[in-house]
């Protein structure tokens, strides 16, 4: 028997919980899953890496899940340019026409969907983003040159979370686009996702007792992002997320992390997200979203 997981028409961090709920319901009995993206009209980098994480988790039992390609050729073309299908081919039995495209030189895709499995991959990601993105971030997105330096650092630390804590591989993608409706500015978005053990499992041995009855996905996210704790006893650990948070606060950016059944966000004034959501549909691993907006000349 095959169960259907509907990919939202507009697939981004806001609709991800709808996707996670559909995934959780369909995956409950271990049946083969069909991820239906035929009607999807748009997907953010967060949606794309999240979909790969779902495919990774769904295929863990053996048989690959199915994936239908968006029927809109522009959408499928963008997914191809973003490197999605290259990674999806490993995880899904793909049905539908996958466009053959070359990555465009002039593209808002600053880093296509890229696998992160080991420290070497983080080196590769950092090197590529510095070559490709620095000039674009400063010239096109209007980021202060000082913000572009920290951007690569934040990207490095976000990717290392997979290597250090997930217990499996994951993916990262970076893109810039104009957020007309939500912000009326250009933004640069880093999306990182894995289907690994998640924050609660990673931090449980060192933190569960401290939180007592409060322990869970939300407490684990709070411990990691707000208190800067790590599963390692080394006092120098836990600085990665703290550094990302500092960077985003300085440049009026946003971070949101979803893990298990909870989601935490540091919400800037331009956004209306909530700081913490609990009781969400369970989804494996961790999904991280970083957004850096175009800077006003007066900022920071």
């Amino acid at each position: 028997m095959t169960r259907l997981v509907e990919v939202p028409t507009q697939f981004d961090d806001r609709s991800f919980d709808q996707f996670a709920a559909s995934y959780a319901a369909a995956a409950a009995d271990g049946a083969r899953l069909l991820f239906d993206a035929h009607a999807t009209e748009w997907a953010s980098p967060y949606g794309l890496v999240g979909l790969l994480a779902a495919g990774q988790a769904a295929g863990g039992g053996g048989e690959k899940p199915l994936l239908t390609v968006p029927t809109n050729t522009d959408v499928a073309g963008y997914w191809a340019r973003a490197g999605f299908f290259r990674e999806a081919a490993e995880l899904f039995e793909v049905h539908g026409k996958v466009p053959r495209v070359r990555p465009a030189e002039e593209s808002d895709v600053l880093l296509p969907v890229t696998p992160v499995r080991a420290a070497e991959d983080v080196h590769d990601v950092v090197s590529r983003i510095q070559q490709r993105a620095s000039a674009i971030l400063a010239a096109k997105v209007g980021l202060d040159p000082r913000a572009t330096m920290g951007f690569a650092m934040a990207l490095s630390e976000a990717c290392q979370n997979i290597v250090e804590h997930a217990g499996t591989g994951g993916w990262v993608a970076v893109q810039s686009y104009h957020w007309r409706r939500r912000l009326a500015r250009r933004v640069v978005v880093i999306a990182v996702a894995d289907a690994g053990v998640g924050f609660q499992h990673s931090l449980e041995p060192s933190q569960a007792r401290r939180f007592g009855g409060r322990w869970g996905d939300a407490a684990a996210l709070e411990a990691a992002l707000i208190q800067g704790v790590s599963r390692f006893r080394d006092p120098g650990r836990g600085q990665g997320l703290a550094g990302i948070r500092r960077y985003l606060t300085r440049w009026n950016g946003k971070i949101a992390i979803r893990s298990g059944t909870a989601r935490i966000a540091i919400v800037p004034s331009w956004d209306d997200d909530v700081p913490m959501q609990e009781g969400l549909a369970p989804f494996p691993g961790a999904q991280v979203l970083l957004i850096v907006p175009e800077q006003d000349s007066a900022e920071p």
Partner: protein, 144 residues
């Protein structure tokens, strides 16, 4: 004697691939291990030259700079820092309650990290005659 370490050269020789950036914990551990091989057992003062190093992230800042400063030498000097290097080093050292001393082009030293921790480091350099006070009241490395 001050032990001089060319970080770019160490980075190129410590790992299987010739990376330009100091990123990830494993890279930081490998680079620190190479540096510790070069340092004499009783080395008290070392200088890390960042010239030519691309990016350093918080993980490498901790693995290399904070750990050498805390565990291996009495005074850690740095030079060739870019603004980006400082962005990683400052918060990591501050959080660890540590400071290192940054040698400017004219030899004068300024603190990176927790300012309160820099005073004893300057005193140590003055005591060992690796540094002197300038007429303007700053502390500068003694020319080699």
């Amino acid at each position: 004697m001050i032990t001089h370490i060319d970080l770019q050269a160490v980075l190129r020789t410590s790992l299987a691939a010739p990376y330009a950036d100091l990123v990830t914990r494993p890279t930081g551990r490998a680079v620190r291990a190479s540096i510790e091989e070069v340092l004499a057992a009783d080395a008290a003062v070392a200088l890390l030259d960042f010239t030519g190093v691309g990016l350093i992230d918080f993980s490498c800042a901790d693995e290399i700079v904070a750990k050498l400063s805390r565990d291996r030498v009495r005074v850690l000097l740095v030079r060739g820092l870019t603004e980006g290097h400082r962005e990683a080093l400052e918060p990591v050292l501050e959080a660890a309650g540590l400071a290192v001393l940054c040698a400017q082009a004219d030899g004068t030293l300024d603190a990176v990290g927790r300012r309160a921790s820099a005073g004893p480091l300057l005193e140590e350099l003055l005591l060992r005659r690796f540094a002197t006070r300038t007429a303007a009241g700053a502390v500068a490395l003694t020319p080699a």
